[in-house]
Symmetry: C2
Subunit: 158 residues, 2 copies
C-alpha cells in the first residue's frame, strides 16, 4: 500500500483543490508523476482513477511524453480489470468539471450494474442485490494488489 | 468534407454495429484507420467523436502504436476546441456500452450548458436560451473545417 504524499512544494500546488490536498480514494500506488486510487463507490466497486500528481487542468496541458506515461498506466489498469473481472465493458473518461485536476476514470461495467448500459452518471435504473462488491470474481484487496503490481512496473525507477 | 466509407471488406466488419454501418454524425475527416465526426446534439453543439474504423471493442484491444495514433487525433481535436471556443472544460470519454465499437468523445463544456458541472449524461439542470449553438464563438461549419485541417495533418500519407 502506497502512502499519499501531497506535492506541497510544487509550484502547481493548489490548496483549495481536493486532488492536490487529498488522495481522493484508497491509495493503490504512487509514482513520481501520478498515483492510482480506487474510488470508494458502492455501486461501482471496480472503479479506479489515475491522477496526475501536479495540478494540471486539461489533457492537452500535458506534454505528449507525459500523455503517453498516463495512458500507459490507464492501459495497465484496464488490462487487470479485464483479466480478473471479465467486465461487460470498460469505461474510460477524463472529465474534471468539478475537480479540474487531471485524472482518468477506469471503470469496470457489468450488465447487472445499476446504470447499465447508460454511463455511470445517468440516473439509477435498478436495485442491485446482492451488493455489487459481492459479485466481483475477486475481492477488492487482491484486486488492488494486482493493479498495484501492474502499474508499479511502469513507474520510472521502480 | 470527407465521405463515409464503411469497411465492409474488413474481417472485423459487423453489419449490426451502428458505427460499422453508418458515419454516426456529420463527417469531418476520414483517414485510413479512423474518422472524426461531429455529433448532432442540440444541447452540446461542440461534440466530436474520434471513431476507430475497424470494429474493435476495447481500448486495450488496440496496439500501443494504434492507441498513440488515436490519442494524437483526440489531442488535436481538443486543441482546436480550446483555441476557438475557450470552453470551461474539455470532457474526454470512451464508454461504448451501447455501441461497443471504439470511439472517443471530445466535448467542449460551458458553464451555461444544461448539465454543467455534471457529466453530459446526467439529468438536465436548466433550460438554455438562446440555443447552445448560438453561444459558440464560431459557427459549426468553420469549426468543422478547423478540426478537419488539424486532424488531416495527422493522417498517414496526408
Amino acid at each position: 500500500m502506497s502512502t499519499f504524499q501531497p506535492l506541497e512544494s510544487d509550484a502547481s500546488f493548489q490548496p483549495d483543490c481536493e486532488l492536490c490536498r487529498e488522495a481522493g480514494g484508497v491509495m493503490v500506488f504512487q509514482a513520481r508523476h501520478w498515483r492510482v486510487i480506487r474510488v470508494e463507490d458502492e455501486a461501482f466497486p471496480a472503479f479506479y482513477r489515475v491522477v496526475w500528481r501536479p495540478h494540471v487542468r486539461e489533457w492537452t496541458d500535458l506534454s505528449l511524453a507525459h500523455q503517453a506515461e498516463v495512458l500507459g498506466v490507464v492501459d495497465a489498469v484496464e488490462r487487470v480489470l479485464r483479466a480478473t473481472l471479465s467486465p461487460a465493458k470498460i469505461n474510460l473518461a477524463s472529465l474534471g468539471n468539478m475537480t479540474p485536476h487531471l485524472h482518468w476514470h477506469v471503470i469496470a461495467r457489468f450488465e447487472w450494474d445499476s446504470r447499465w448500459p447508460a454511463p455511470i452518471w445517468a440516473p439509477s435504473a435498478r436495485e442491485v442485490a446482492p451488493a455489487p462488491r459481492e459479485r466481483l470474481a475477486v475481492g477488492l484487496d487482491p484486486l488492488d494488489a494486482q493493479v498495484a503490481r501492474a502499474v508499479a512496473a511502469l513507474a520510472p525507477g521502480a
